[in-house]
Symmetry: C2
Subunit: 648 residues, 2 copies
């Protein structure tokens, strides 16, 4: 897709954007503020800009008079970039450009890293755990009475140099008829042993040559969402991907409430059935969309947190939520997929990612594997931020891990207008430093309904850095704007007036919301700082930070640093791996090495219980400020705040 | 039980019998003929004997006049031995005692050998494949967050020196609640790996100490009958045993007709269900009778012929009956018992004996293992005689095996009055050499209904040795007795007149019956002679013969030699192992060594297809005589026949 350069005046900001991007988002990415309170929905008419060079697609609505249109006025949220542009943002008062520069910082999201398949292949690590072999067997005759299974096994040895085979009963049942169907021409599906020294299993036989059709499925069983990916085991390519909300949500939002349901009579069975139904629904979608035959799916790998895994496997999770918080198991044997109720062929073994502890689960281990961290020299802080935050520190030689409860703030919980990152959620924000008018950018460019997790960070960071709130998260009572108001003794900032929202109510952020966010970020910051301290390391010794999970994909790094969620580290050192759990599950479908290595990795991983670490509470209390009690841990931010006279 | 000596006059025959035995059977065992055409039912009144010393219990009926009773006359079939006796058999004509001696030979059945458990224990081979271990685990606390499964595995290592454990999902599901039930006191059931280097599996956990309760079940899946035995794995003792007819009989008597049913739609499923139903019924009986808890049954081993095994495992047996007669598989993996529909705990693995070929099955391999043949130095001919006869020759270093179809004669098939060995079947016979009157002894001492397999051999051998039939099985047309008659051109001998039978018809044996028996025995004799020839051995090189299967238990060895079913060998060298299949299944429950060794044994076993061995047909044709075309293969018999001027 073509890229074009957009320059914003009077800011000295330029940015390259993809063809079709709106001018509002382009301004946001560039760090140029445009008033826009309706979230990009085209309703408020405030995001007017003047085209000085070039033209756009759209951007003309009844909000603009014919005269304005003539002069080049356009609504930024409705204008799509189709060529290089110079755009002027009309400013309401004369202010110098230094001040303008303060308005917003250019958005810096983490670099997205994907598993490099070619690299894997080069290193000889693309060894799918399930392979197909085509055979032409000699038929039995009066001088050759080899039993059917022995015939198959013998010729796998002769024709394919395959040794030490095991055959399960379901396959034995198939063999006699299948080998005779196309005159003793047959394809055998072989599952490689995870542990060396064990046997290769013949898991399926099919008439004729079907070696070109061999698929795997990777599943991330998240507390909120479940994702599944269809993989071509011959090429390593992901063919299709679908996600669904975890059906267990109706039994409770978080793992603790799910465990409580599981403890009721039939509760475990019910939750188990619900997640299996999810998985089967996703499998059906993958099969339907791709048009493959379900019998050609040879393997499935699943990853989830410890509670999700125990519910998936129908293992009582009661003791996970009770002190001393022990899981039933952290290593799970390979399981016949059908025995779990998964609607795949009876030849399919389900592999479930091992966990570390009750709160550092298989999803995190999958992330460590899928991101390649497990074989990296670089000293890495791996963070998966959600209601619970999981933290891993280490490199290929050792790992320490811990989990902490951040509360649901990042997923919209405990925030009055908090919501999941879905249509109508304010996900990005800036503020006019003279008028205190907002620029709201919503998911779907539509009228705001609420605030997403990343939006919340963006809003709080911006309010803090612009001096609208102080380091305790309290509003500056002296600012002259109707957007800051006191209701029942609580101060709040009106992000969007009710006639500019999709919910017919003012969308606001209050000091209570901010306080909740500070507690959440404080828990995480103190979590990894405690873990780093336990292993004798400081932030400056880290080579990189890996962010995993939905949260990491859209969070603005600078803003996350500004609120003190992330340590002050060069943005280049922060990598985003997307859904690490799904990536790990995928990797494990594509290369048997991962399946071997993962057990070793879990052995190298030392779990720390933060609640039993004395310094954790001190760290936590110190982190209950923006960005932190000790501003010196954030020297660049300190410098910026100083330059704006916000601190001394 | 007390034993008493009974002397029969004018025969010079003495025998020791158990208290309560009838005089008729005592005479038979001693080789003294008493006319008795009603089979021991007390009806014909012909079996009169005179007590000369001692007294008996019973024996007086209305068949005897008061005067006769006074003189010491008793009916032999109704008289029970309760002390030492001298008994005179009234002979109807004066004949010399040499001639009398000819009348019957003393019964010689094979020595019964049972597995010697003490010997096994001495040799350290009593290693049940499933063992229980009791543990007292430390509960988790804030300094010990070991997952439940890891805790169990770690302490099996610490407290019992158990290494390399695998745990299946059903056990993982049980562990969290079970270990907490009696305050972390728990018994783990461990299944040893069959192949060294593999892991020990934890297959069950139970609260508290249950180590004293650990049981196994051994099953022989016969075409006609199914037997099951409950074993105490702590002592090695068989606690209970039950047998049932194989429910598949209603779908066909022999394996071929069963296979034909299995080839019909749903036929395989139906036959599979029927045999599983049998096994479940037997298990229920064992459990009910012994009063144990079904959850304490830890293992089950099954043995059967190749067709029965494939039906048991629901593997299409179609190709067993079609040239070139290949089975689907000869090695079967361990299988979850519940997945077969066997109603045992979900922790129980079913082990199924491996087969050699389509017609030498797991029952025979079990016999080779259970009889100890597999580790014997002695060169042995192992015979399992039924509709199909299976033959194994060899010793611990090598084995050759073959199967031949004998037809159903030994089980009563193709014989007009043939029947299974059940109540009313003539099972033993002798003849008065002057009057040609019979002594019929039936199972249950009741009126005859027909002839059992061993009765048939006894009758034909006696008729032949007494010159009533010739070596071609044709009756001597010159004998003066109404019992030999010609009906529609076929000669027959009346064993019991209709008023002396339970079926209101004359019970006879005809030349057609005799011809069928000759074909059956000829097939078996030529079978093992061909196999011996193929491996370059003669009968005289054999150290022993092992008879396995129901047939071997009651066959009179001398008579089996007389008809040419068995080679002329010292009766001391013939051993009977009973149900070899069940014995093998039992052994395999009691010692894991057998499970390891059996795979090696099957590798050492070379299968010969007799139908494709050129000399087999010649051998067969030569064996279609009594005892054989070449009488010199039976020198002792030749001598006897010569002394009676029946041959020159």
């Amino acid at each position: 897709m073509s890229e074009y350069t957009v320059s914003f005046l009077p800011y000295a900001k330029k940015i390259k954007v993809k063809s079709g991007e709106t001018l509002l988002r382009a301004a946001l990415e560039a760090g140029a503020h445009i008033n826009a309170s309706c979230g990009g929905g085209g309703l408020c008419g405030k995001c007017r800009v003047i085209l000085e060079q070039g033209s756009v697609e759209g951007g003309i609505t009844e909000k603009l008079s014919p005269g304005e249109r003539e002069k080049g006025y356009r609504l930024a949220c409705q204008s799509k970039v189709i060529e290089d542009l110079v755009v002027r943002i009309p400013v309401e008062s004369e202010i110098d450009s230094t001040f303008l520069d303060m308005a917003a910082t250019a958005r810096k999201t983490a670099r997205i890293t994907e598993m490099n398949l070619d690299e894997l292949k080069e290193q000889g690590l693309f060894i799918p755990p399930v392979e197909k072999k085509y055979l032409e067997l000699p038929p039995p005759d009066k001088d050759d009475h080899l039993p059917d299974v022995t015939r198959l096994v013998s010729f796998l040895k002769l024709q394919h140099n395959e040794h030490r085979m095991a055959v399960s009963l379901p396959v034995i049942r198939k063999i006699p008829d299948v080998i005779r169907k196309e005159n003793f021409k047959v394809t055998a599906t072989l599952a490689r042993p995870v542990q060396s020294g064990r046997k290769t299993r013949i898991i399926n036989v099919q008439p004729g040559d079907t070696t070109d059709r061999n698929y795997g499925i990777a599943v991330d069983v998240g507390t909120t969402t479940v994702y599944a990916q269809l993989l071509d085991l011959n090429t390593g390519k992901a063919l299709e991907q679908f996600g669904e909300f975890n059906g267990q949500i109706s039994y409770g939002e978080d793992v603790i409430s799910r465990i409580m349901v599981a403890e009721k009579p039939e509760g475990l069975e019910k939750l188990h059935q619900v997640i299996i139904k999810n998985i089967n629904s996703l499998i059906r979608k993958l099969i339907r969309k791709s048009g493959i035959d379900i019998d050609e799916v040879s393997t499935i790998t699943l990853a989830g947190n410890t509670t999700m895994t125990q519910l998936l496997l129908k293992i009582n999770p009661a003791y996970i939520r009770r002190s001393p918080y022990v899981p039933a198991a952290t290593l799970y044997p390979p399981i016949d997929a059908v025995s779990l109720g998964i609607e795949l062929g009876d030849h399919v073994t389900a592999l479930v990612y091992p966990a570390i502890s009750s709160y550092v689960g298989g999803d995190i281990v999958a992330g460590v594997m899928g991101s390649g961290l497990y074989r990296s020299e670089e000293l890495t802080l791996f963070l998966d931020i959600g209601t619970n935050a999981e933290i891993v520190v280490g490199n290929k030689d050792w790992f320490a891990c811990a989990a902490c409860s951040a509360g649901p703030a990042f997923e919209g919980g405990g925030i009055r207008f908090g919501m999941r990152a879905s249509k109508g959620a304010i996900e990005d924000f800036s503020i006019d430093p003279s008028t205190w008018e907002p620029m709201n950018v919503t998911i779907g460019n539509t009228l705001p309904k609420g605030i997403s997790g990343s939006g919340l960070i963006s809003i709080v960071a911006t309010l803090f850095e612009m001096g609208v709130i102080n380091s305790k998260g309290k509003f500056n009572r002296d600012l002259n704007t109707p957007r800051i108001r006191e209701i029942d003794g609580i101060f709040e900032y009106v992000l969007a007036w009710k006639d500019m929202t999709a919910i017919d109510r003012d969308v606001v952020i209050s000091e209570i919301d901010i306080d909740n966010l500070i507690r959440a970020k404080g828990a995480i910051f103190s979590g990894f700082m405690t873990l780093l301290a336990e292993v004798g390391l400081g932030v400056n010794q880290l080579d990189r930070i890996i962010l995993s999970g939905g949260f990491g994909s859209y969070v603005d790094l600078e803003k996350a640093i500004t609120i003190g969620l992330l340590p002050e580290i060069d943005a280049e050192k922060v990598i985003y791996v997307g859904n690490g759990s799904l990536m790990g599950a995928k990797m494990s479908c594509l290369t048997n090495r991962i399946r071997k290595d993962v057990v070793e990795v879990t052995r190298k991983m030392t779990n720390f219980e933060l609640s039993e670490t004395n310094s954790y509470m001190d760290q936590y209390v110190a982190a209950l400020f923006l960005p932190h009690t000790d501003i010196n841990q954030f020297p660049k931010l300190k410098q910026r705040l100083k330059s704006r006279s916000l601190i001394q």
